[in-house]
Symmetry: C2
Subunit: 334 residues, 2 copies
């Protein structure tokens, strides 16, 4: 037995006014006399009336829904991202449709879902967006913002940390600390983050005429970091510092190195990227690069609102800085 959902018509009858007037009250329209407004609100309260968001969006063409597609929600960095996005968007009255993309690239099915629901915008984090998918969103007037990623063909705005610059500074720091033999554990090789971080890192080493660099592929998970470190340490026992594509990799690396019986940072220095909460846990005390998460989210939301309200706005790239957080996982070599 489905309970009856009361409609604005029901409220109107109970309050003795027309449906239009009820609608005006709930749409925030000011042109309603105080007397009737009172009556209507009373009637609505009595019936526990709730406006129907779907009917409303059908006519206003505003759904107040934002799609957020993530991969790897188990990565604490993205849990934090999700939480912050939720807080910001909820404060603005937007609702989040959460999509956890299993694949490297956002899938047709997932796009369709978002299109069917007429989300006003889509935030894509840590998942690649093909050109055709992006066009599909564009054609339907849906704003797309890439978070912590960007694509070459700039149809969408993007907000991310300047990974190239960060990696350069990290490399510089490590060299200054006297390290000679380097390793880099990457994320998936076709993501902009990986490419830029590697590029910046390499560039500095090249400048310093350092050629001793091993690159090990990973996929931004603890397990991949763990395995990569095992690989590295068996291949080359002389590595004295490892730059990890992100913090969760770094944690895996540290654990793997300790399992082997080596010490951090005495035997091997480890440096991460993101500054997730765990990085400061005493078991790890990971030196890492902090991404200015709150600012990145704020910028993303701001950009999104701007583009929602002005569909002609040109896509924009926002590159944030971040900074090094020095803890104890990197040690100066004498």
């Amino acid at each position: 037995m489905n309970k009856k959902n009361y409609t604005s018509q029901d409220v109107a009858e109970l309050a003795g006014v027309s449906q239009s007037t009820v609608s005006r009250v709930f749409a925030g329209n000011t042109n309603v006399s105080e007397k009737k407004r009172k009556k209507i609100l009373d009637a609505a309260a009595k019936l526990e009336y709730q406006p129907n968001a779907h009917a409303r969006s059908l006519i206003t063409r505003k759904t107040m829904m934002i799609g957020i597609v993530m991969r790897n929600i188990r990565n604490p960095f993205y849990s934090a991202v999700l939480e912050i996005f939720h807080n910001r968007l909820a404060a603005l009255g937007y609702h989040m449709i959460f999509i956890n993309s299993e694949n490297e690239e956002i899938q047709e099915k997932e796009i369709t879902q978002l299109l069917e629901y007429n989300v006003e915008g889509v935030i894509i984090t840590d998942a690649l967006l093909s050109s055709s998918a992006s066009q599909k969103f564009n054609r339907n007037g849906i704003v797309v913002i890439l978070f912590n990623r960007y694509t070459e063909h700039m149809e969408s705005s993007a907000v991310f940390c300047d990974n190239y610059l960060a990696a350069k500074q990290i490399a510089t720091y490590l060299v200054e600390m006297g390290h000679k033999s380097f390793a880099f554990i990457s994320g998936p090789s076709d993501t902009s983050t990986t490419i830029d971080r590697l590029k910046g890192f390499k560039e500095v080493l090249d400048e310093k005429k350092i050629t001793d660099l091993m690159i090990e592929p990973g996929n931004y998970t603890y397990e991949s970091g763990f395995k990569a470190a095992q690989e590295l340490m068996t291949k080359n026992r002389n590595i004295d510092c490892i730059f990890c594509g992100n913090d969760i990799i770094a944690l895996g690396v540290m654990d793997a190195i300790r399992v082997i019986g080596l010490k951090i940072p005495e035997d091997v220095s480890v440096i991460g990227f993101d500054n997730i909460r765990m990085a400061e846990w005493p078991s790890y005390s990971l030196t890492t690069w902090e991404q200015p998460l709150e600012e990145m989210v704020d910028s993303t939301v701001e950009l999104m609102l701007k583009e929602i309200n002005d569909k002609e706005a040109t896509p924009q790239i926002m590159m944030m800085k971040g900074h090094l957080v020095v803890r104890t996982s990197v040690k100066a070599k004498k």
Copy 2:
């Protein structure tokens, strides 16, 4: 400039049929000739037609949306919960509206949001549901399922681990291992999980005539575990084992104990609850109680579907077992 969204009417005109027939094709109705179906699908493809989910749900009264309200998404246990729920529900064609409740209790505003969107069901994890809120959902014909929680006044179904039994087995295990001086670090004291875990734990100690139990309040976070352990160890240096309300507390406890200079498990045994992934990281190797997460989610979804399709179904309580996962954070005392 908003791009035009094509409608079933547009497709109908292009295909030379009526809107009804187009609708039939997309609603999966079988009574359409193969010839026209082809034509319609071609026309739809040409226009990149997407049915409007809101218009559809207005008439079918099925929104295919499920609300999931969580707190503490940064707790890895709940990240995993979210991921698994998403996978299951997406496979069934349901979409998730994600709500991260900041407060101990689900708020009026959040309830309203879910009601306005006519979600078909709400999954509430780790957030308390007041009786009035629950009634509100019920009156609107919205199914509510509590996950990992239950309330006394049983208006809603609930799925959770048998915390009472688990705590009893944990206590038994610790006693058998020769421990004498116990501590329990709880979650918020008004949650069913905390109450049941404490009850079971205490009961076994009582049976064994053990009175040496300290109880320290926490809130299911790393930081609270860290602080609680510091408190405990300064108050009573003789504690030889700590039962933590969940794993993330346990990690904080272990770190705090190590910072003090004590060893785990030689000086203090630590045991957790949940079996999150980090529990098996070598830095912690935490002995803990595994909640059968996948089964719990499956049961929740199953229950939800049943109640969505039969609103008369009586609320049901599903209590799962789980089992002890022995690692190395608990040591036998001689």
